[in-house]
């Protein structure tokens, strides 16, 4: 009478394989990064950390980064939460178009916004001159703190909108009706009922926005004008023109990880206090607002969305302007496109090849990990769960640098390959896809899989023949967003790419940094068009028209 021991089966093999991948491509690089920050020519030293904390200049950048990120987070919430509320509660004209524009807004490479705002509101910008001619003197400058916060808020509120919309879809209409019966309606209902119900999501959105703002270095670089931020140091110390110090860059990266980890823990602590689950039997019914209220709602939703979209429209417009050398001149021409014509095919091919492989890997791994986490709870799988969430709190540039440090030397030289870019994309995107897959899987009864097994399926067959098809729809609506994020990824790509693996997003970046505004705009336009096309294809094939995060 021996007790049966836990069976070693195919899923155990998958667990071990995934853990191996994380060990090799995430934990090992982070470990190397740490070593790099505390060893100088083979000897242990803390001088890089001392350097950071003894020079007030670095401290200031940290303060700057916090000030920026907190402000941008607050503004993004203030704009994004009401937008999500209006969008889900009321009938909005041109919903589908609005949806696409919103996705485009949060998916454009961060620096494009900054770049376009400089063109529009810089010292010599179109809008600046327009205002000047109207009111007689120059409007306040866009440069510095205010500019960065404006650009980041406009860049990030669409993200808040998408997340909070997801939460609102789970609010049962009867909750709203009940509160109305108790005399809580209108603005009061928004604050007393809707906000508390969405609180867990709002906190999650706040974290995400904060992390993005904190990690962004493109915007401060372009629009900061001396307002130095923390990620810029990492980048400069690693890739700057002069005086780079890789060890110091590594040390700063380690500090960045510690900070974001602390923020993450604070957020987790805060959201634990709001933990509850909702599932709407009767989703919110959209109402038609009337009169002035309707006008205001339509104005607000379209207003903020178009404001956020304006930089991209402007960039697309610029791509068709005539140029002379690097400068735009009067009239329209296709010169910008002609200039890049030779390089576009490679960039498009890379974007698609790297993107599709990365997407396939992301979906496969995330679905497998979600399965392990939900259906096969064990110490091993909890470890995988934790490991897979680490990249969620690590700035993209740090992931990139860690990969370079780990794989630019023997025994495994991978830098300069498309493979390493795919790895980086997987690491970055998988945490999001896991979260959504877990949510989907929790809705699927385990008995479906057991039915398949009792009908003769092996465990793996049961997963692929029964559970996976049931997940497909949900996973698909997450996949489109992954796709868009993947093809617009910049943070790691900029560190890992070379001539042969350059993508469209990276092409925009190189053109901007060379001051070739026309070609940059042309690349950006091509990327936008491809993004829109892929979203349209998705919407045609997906059963539910919503793009979920």
């Amino acid at each position: 009478m021996s007790p049966t021991k836990k069976r070693f089966d195919i899923w155990t093999v998958i667990s071990l394989a995934i853990l191996g991948l994380y060990g090799l491509f995430l934990l090992y690089p982070l470990f190397r990064l740490l070593l790099e920050s505390i060893f100088k020519n083979g000897a242990f030293t803390l001088e890089y950390f001392t350097k950071f904390f003894s020079n007030p200049y670095y401290g200031t950048t940290l303060v700057h980064s916090f000030a920026l990120s907190i402000s941008a987070t607050i503004f993004a919430l203030i704009i994004g939460v009401p937008l999500a509320y209006f969008y889900n509660m009321y009938e909005i004209k041109g919903r589908a178009l609005l949806q696409i524009i919103i996705v485009l807004c949060c998916m454009s490479a961060p620096f494009i916004g900054a770049y376009a705002w400089v063109q529009l509101r810089g010292n010599n910008g179109v809008i600046t001159r327009l205002i000047e001619s109207l009111i007689g003197h120059k409007p306040p400058s866009i440069y510095g703190f205010r500019g960065i916060v404006t650009v980041l808020s406009l860049q990030l509120f669409p993200l808040v909108h998408m997340l909070v919309s997801g939460a609102l879809k789970n609010v049962d209409n009867s909750l709203l009706e009940a509160s109305e019966n108790m005399g809580v309606s209108g603005v009061k209902r928004f604050f007393k009922v809707v906000i508390p119900l969405c609180m867990p999501t709002i906190l999650a959105a706040a974290l995400l926005v904060f992390m993005r703002a904190f990690a962004d270095y493109g915007t401060p670089l372009l629009i900061g004008q001396g307002y130095q931020t923390f990620p810029v140091i990492i980048y400069n110390e690693y890739f700057g023109e002069t005086g780079t110090d890789h060890n110091f860059a590594a040390a700063v990266a380690v500090i960045a990880i510690v900070i974001t980890a602390i923020i993450f823990l604070i957020q987790k602590w805060a959201s634990n206090r709001f933990e509850f689950h909702m599932n709407a039997l009767h989703p919110i019914e959209m109402k038609k607002a009337t009169g002035l209220k309707n006008v205001l709602i339509q104005l607000y939703t379209w207003g903020v969305v178009l404001l956020a979209f304006m930089p991209q429209v402007y960039v697309m417009y610029c791509s068709f302007r005539a140029t002379s050398g690097k400068i735009f001149v009067k009239g329209f021409a296709m010169t910008s496109y002609q200039k890049i014509a030779r390089d576009v095919p490679l960039a498009v091919r890379n974007t698609f090849v790297i993107g599709i492989i990365a997407l396939a890997m992301v979906v496969l791994l995330a679905v497998l990990i979600a399965y392990l986490v939900v259906r096969r709870r064990s110490k091993l799988n909890d470890t995988i769960d934790t490991a897979s969430m680490i990249p969620y709190i690590i700035p993209g540039s740090v992931v990139g640098i860690a990969l370079v440090i780990a794989f630019n030397r023997k025994p495994l030289v991978l830098t300069g390959t498309a493979f390493i870019m795919i790895v980086a994309l997987c690491i970055r995107r998988i945490p999001y896809t896991i979260r959504s897959s877990v949510a989907i899987l929790q809705q699927i009864p385990i008995t479906v899989e057991e039915a398949a097994i009792s009908l003769g399926c092996s465990k793996l067959e049961a997963f692929f023949k029964a559970t996976l098809p049931m997940m497909a729809n949900g996973v698909l609506s997450g996949a489109i967003l992954s796709w868009v994020t993947i093809i617009t990824e910049l943070a790691t790509g900029v560190i890992l790419y070379n001539r042969n693996t350059i993508t469209l997003t990276l092409s925009i970046y190189t053109m901007v940094s060379r001051g070739s505004d026309g070609p940059a705009a042309a690349y950006a336009t091509i990327l936008n068009v491809l993004t829109v096309i892929s979203m349209l294809i998705f919407m045609k094939f997906s059963k539910n028209k919503d793009i979920s995060f």
Binding site: M1, T4, R7, A451, S454, L455, K465
Partner: protein, 369 residues
């Protein structure tokens, strides 16, 4: 081919929580065997141990002579029907039914024939090409049953298959299930918490409580001679009263309230002694006595149900009881009326004071020692 199932000293633990401490049961070849018990008593757990979805922390399970503890669930050749149907939503009715056959890599012709045969048998052939989401609950459960049976399993396992259906459909489907089981002749283990359903379909029932089997027997045995207090009150309705047994001049007398005494002729030899007892009297085992003999009680309420009339009474000693009488043509006894009642002494059950055992003869319990 059907099998007999033998469970020997099975133990199930979730972490430190022992859900099934030590359970044995023998299920005969081809019989319709039901696990009946209140929610949370471990029925599903036991069923899933037989199916192979739960690990077994101790003991053995056999299909015929073959120990299956470590056999992969896919290789046990079981058909399973779940409470939530577990139909594959992405496959048509036909593909759902054919799933197991395709899995066995049978040739196309056999698959088509068998699938058609079982869809006809379950009366779902007209929906063959529909997607499951467009079927009613009852139809979905028919698909699930066809899908489980078409692979000609050795054992059919069903976990509360009817509890998601409405009352009327439930009654209809249980007839369907019983008929099919009878025709196919397959060993069936059926789980339910509904005693009426269990009585309606089963050859034998195992009554479970807190992870232990209380009694195994035919519906008739369980109803007429329950092995203990739990079984007597879980199967059917009953009234529990305090009583005293006394042995006088070779006769065993049961003393109830109000000095009412009745002779018992079926008390087991070794239990014939003076002692306090619990008495289980089913509502139909009371007789209203018009001569002022028996327990005195007041009528609180009455419910007329056509064939029978139920009276809810409180005895003089404060015990609430329910009585069923065949409805009379003249009138219903009014509220507040005082009545006297006696019991049908050959039918009632007498249990030890702690309720752990029935002290009458004729108690059958197939529970293995």
């Amino acid at each position: 081919m059907s099998v007999k199932i033998i469970v020997k000293n099975a133990v199930k633990k979730y972490g430190d929580n022992t859900v099934i401490p030590n359970l044995s049961v023998d299920i005969k070849e081809g019989e319709f065997f039901t696990l009946l018990g209140p929610s949370g008593c471990g029925k599903t757990t036991l069923l899933r141990m037989i199916a192979g979805f739960n690990s077994i922390e101790g003991g053995d399970i056999y299909f015929n002579e073959k120990r299956i503890n470590d056999l992969d669930p896919a290789k046990r050749n079981i058909g399973m029907v779940f409470q939530n149907y577990a139909i594959f939503p992405h496959l048509t009715v036909r593909d759902n039914v054919a799933f197991g056959l395709k899995q066995k890599k049978m040739d196309k012709k056999t698959i088509a024939e068998q699938t058609d045969k079982f869809m006809k048998l379950m009366h779902i052939d007209e929906y063959a090409d529909r997607m499951p989401e467009r079927l009613s609950g009852g139809q979905q459960q028919r698909v699930a049953l066809a899908r489980a049976l078409v692979i000609q399993p050795d054992v059919l396992l069903m976990d509360e298959p009817l509890s998601n259906l409405d009352a009327k459909l439930r009654v209809e489907m249980r007839t369907v299930i019983k008929e099919i089981q009878h025709n196919v002749g397959i060993t069936t283990v059926y789980v339910t918490h509904d005693q009426e359903e269990a009585m309606a379909v089963s050859d034998r029932i195992a009554v479970m409580n807190l992870g232990e089997i209380q009694q195994i027997g035919s519906p008739k045995t369980l109803y007429q001679r329950p092995a203990n207090l739990f079984v007597s009150s879980f199967i059917g309705r009953t009234n529990i009263m305090e009583g005293r047994l006394k042995v006088e001049g070779g006769k065993t007398i049961l003393c109830l309230e109000n000095g009412y005494e009745t002779e018992l002729t079926n008390v087991r030899e070794e239990c014939r002694m003076d002692q306090n007892v619990k008495v289980s009297v089913r509502p139909e085992e009371f007789v209203i006595n018009t001569e002022g003999k028996g327990i005195e009680a007041t009528i609180d309420d009455s419910v007329f149900l056509g064939l029978n009339t139920h009276y809810f009474v409180t005895t003089k000693g404060g015990v609430k009881a329910e009585i069923v009488q065949e409805s009379l043509i003249d009138s219903i006894l009014p509220q507040g009326m005082k009545i006297h009642m006696t019991v049908k002494s050959e039918k009632i059950n007498v249990l030890t004071e702690d309720g752990s055992a029935n002290i009458l003869t004729g108690v059958l319990n197939d529970k293995p020692e």
